[in-house]
């Protein structure tokens, strides 16, 4: 089970990182969202995995999961939400002020287009 969960965390991180490295704001935001899922699951898993042992004090309970990472993840989820919200609005602001949704603004779009042309040319010739 631990391997499976670790694998999931790893894949979510990889996908998140890949998206964070994109040049446009929207995929970037999605990437950060994915990354924060990965982080949250990771942080949560640090309390080790337990099935059916919620941290609610009950007389019949035999064991409890580690409640602390859960509290931390809860905080982290809410913070990540605030941050995502801010970032996406900032992305709108950037689109309004920089004229497009490229993370670096106008300059790079021209470059991008030029590259696209080159690539399509080379693609056509090959």
């Amino acid at each position: 089970m631990e391997w499976l969960v670790s694998l999931v965390i790893g894949v979510m991180t990889a996908s998140g990182v890949y998206l964070v490295l994109r040049a446009r704001t929207f995929p970037l935001v999605l990437g950060l969202t994915l990354l924060s899922y990965a982080v949250n699951v990771f942080l949560f898993a640090m309390g080790r995995l337990q099935v059916g042992q919620a941290a609610i004090i009950r007389p019949e309970a035999t064991a409890y999961t580690d409640p602390l990472p859960q509290a931390l993840v809860l905080t982290a989820i809410v913070i990540a939400f605030g941050m995502t919200a801010f970032l996406i609005v900032l992305a709108l602001k950037a689109r309004s002020e920089l004229g497009n949704d490229h993370v670096d603004g106008l300059i790079y779009v021209a470059e991008e287009q030029a590259n696209n042309k080159n690539e399509s040319k080379s693609g056509a010739s090959s």
């Binding site: 089970m1 631990e2 499976l4 670790s6 694998l7 999931v8 965390i9 790893g10 894949v11 979510m12 991180t13 990889a14 998140g16 990182v17 890949y18 998206l19 490295l21 040049a23 446009r24 704001t25 929207f26 995929p27 935001v29 999605l30 969202t33 994915l34 699951v41 990771f42 949560f44 898993a45 995995l49 337990q50 919620a54 941290a55 004090i57 009950r58 409890y64 999961t65 409640p67 859960q70 509290a71 809860l74 905080t75 809410v78 913070i79 939400f81 941050m83 995502t84 919200a85 801010f86 609005v89 709108l92 602001k93 309004s96 949704d101 993370v103 670096d104 470059e111 991008e112 690539e119």
Partner: protein
Amino acid sequence: MNLFAFNLPLIALIPFLGAPLAAYAAKFSRQASAWVAALVTLLSLALLGPIIHLPFDNQTLIQSWSWLPSLGLDFAFRLDGLALLFTLLILLIGLLVILYARYYLSAKDSMGRFFAYLLMFMGSMLGIVLSENLIQLVVFWELTSLTSFLLISYWQHQQDARDGARMALAITGAGGLAMLAGVLLIGHIVGSFNLTEVLAAGDQIRQHDWYLPALVLILLGVFTKSAQFPFHFWLPHAMAAPTPVSAYLHSATMVKAGIFMLARLFPALSGTEAWGWLVGGAGMITMVLGAYTALFKHDLKGLLAYSTISHLGLITLLFGFSTQLAAVAAIFHIINHATFKASLFMVAGIIDHECGTRDMRQVNGLLKYMPHTAVLAMIAASAMAGVPLLNGFLSKEMFFEQAVTATDGNSFMWAIPVLVTIGAIFSVAYSLRFIHDVFFNGEPVGLTKTPHEPPRFMKIPVDILVMLCLGVGIAPMILVAPILSVAVAASLQTTPPEFSLAIWHGLNLPLIMSFIAMGIGAVVYFNRHKLFRWHDETLPRIDARTLFNMFLHGLLVFAGKVSRLFDQGSLQNAVSWVLVTAVVALVFGFSQFDSPLLGDRSLLSVDLLTLAMASVLIVASIITAYMHKRRLVALIIVGVIGLIVSLGFVKFSAPDLALTQLSVEVVTIVLLLLALFFLPQHTPQERSRKRLTRDLILSVTAGVSVMMLAMAVLSRDYAPISDFFIENSKPGGGGTNVVNVILVDFRGFDTLGEIVVLALAGLGIFALLQNLRLPAPMRDIDGREWNHDPHPPIMQTLTRLLFPLMLLVAVFIFLRGHNLPGGGFIAGLIAAVALISQYLANGIDWTNARIKTDMHVVIGLGLMAAVITGIVAMMLSYPFLTSAFTYVKWPIVGKFEIASAMAFDLGVFLVVIGATVLILVELGKLSHASHQVFEQERS
């Protein structure tokens, strides 16, 4: 308390205090500024008065205060013979320069600025020579670099002035930094920065491993300041300064600071082979090169500049001999050079002033236009050439004698007298040129005005200086021997050696060398035209200024390239660096120890449900990345990931997390949809395949690292502090939901921070959205117009029906949170979602008309509730956020719990609602403004 206990620092500091006064005085009249400068100088001199006798009584006066004890930096001043000599030179020549400058500067030059700078420079120089503490000395040393920068660039509108100043600052500033390093090394060796200790520790220094680096560093400072080869090139370009500045800085003071350091640290550093080669070598090359180059300069000041370089080389060479008598000669020549060179600069300034040019090819035959000046110039130039009966002759003879004595012992040392003589030959030649080419040699060429004698007061400083040249040359034992003697004693830190300043020592080798120099020098001068041609044709023209500008430009380009190579202004680049660093940190940190990657904790076996959820998560994550260009689709898939993650939380015993994740998930989707409306629906093609490959490798590496990190932890046992929470949750926190008790009690402070984050997000977004205008698309991706039904009635009706239900659920979740999954956060999110559903279904205007609450105030109330809960505890003198709970029993209702944590949780609840609604609704409103924009544009 003795008033004179402060006079050494005062001597150095008064000019600094006077500087703003001089600047201020210029507001009243041009004279006033000069007067202030002169009076300040006189005041410093006056302060010297009561203590001037001390060096002559073989006493060293030290005035010292503790300043930065941990560094060993004292505010400490020292007056001994050497300091006295230099102080007098600085103040007296300073006084003459002030007088001269008063008449030199033209009406459009700012007097205030000039004298302010000059006084600051004077103070810095005085600081150098009077410092007892070496760090303090470096402070003043660098100040001379700064103030000379200001003085050289005084005519700031001239490009060559700015360039010259910058070059001087760069070179001498660099030297100063080296000097600082050297001083620190010495201080480390000796254990003190105070000269008294340093000078007494010569042997200790010379035997230390760090002697050579310390020596080299200090000599770097010395050579740059005193324009020694190969750092001499800045000095000619500093001639762009007004002539009084040149007369002061480049004859008597600043360039002598380096020489002063040689004299000052002579007992501590000299006497080794390294010293001999470095100091002597630099001095020799500088002397010959300077003298040779001086001859070819057509600019009067250029000639004087190279002559200065040459003479500084001469003095340096003398120190390089390391003998006591050589030191005597060096110090003597310092005095002599200061007097004749200052006067020559002033003459050059007068000529420039009167002719409008300093080019010797134009300036000819001035003898008949300004005879008085001509006589002064000729005497001073003769002193420079080393003509008998003038002061230059005496020190030059001593120099020759030292050069001859140095031949002892080493078979190669015969070169010294030969080179020295060659230097002297050119020295005679350029001195002759100064006299003949300017004052004789036919008539002036192409002058715009007819030259005549300058104002009387402008000549007085020259008169005085030339008189000194004569006086010292004729009666050295009376005029100069006493001060020379104490200066030498201070420099050598011993009783000075026997020396005689006689004019006639008999017909000895030095005298013969003098005659050879004069004879051949005259021949050289009168054959100069051939020599000039040869010089022009054979030697490449290297202009230091051009080179330096090229260097600066190159530096600028290099800096730009390097800095932009790394800092490309590209976010992708920056993030890649962060990620790479993080991975490297992980791998490096792990590899530091011989630990296995995995521990030996027994692992759970995989079950079907987890496998299914994991497959969904893995596939969905990869597909999100793969399909991210179709933004809406990617967003939907992210929604699925969020859902499955919450399921996972439930599965692994974290119901609170699942609830939170679920609510946040939906709010996030709504948020991203609101934003996506204004963004392109598709992401264009990426720039390059290379970049994609690189990113792919990086992301897979990051993923694998995180996976391994997770596995490394999950396969190990640990002993968390959490048992405490489980044990104390009910008895100490009054709740059975441990997660919630942690959130509102054990770690309530985290939660406080967290709601502030949420509040900040809301407020920050609100602020960002003000005045934001974005074009709202009128059609969807496929070019269809939007559906004309903004609020489908079925949606409206049923959403309204759900609203009270959702509120009820929110209350339910809120109230039970302390004991069962739930709490303020989740309840707040549910309530927010309930409100948002109304905005979605019914529109902003309709809903706002029904919710009149200002969300800013809700946020404020929430924060207040949380804070007040904590403060109540403080009032009962418990720490902030200490909780209390009690069980009360009411009739009918029964027993229930009242906990202060609930009040705190209420704050959380309010902030979550306020912030979430504020964020989404403000973002929703964005389209209103945009539609208006569209309508305006259409009409």
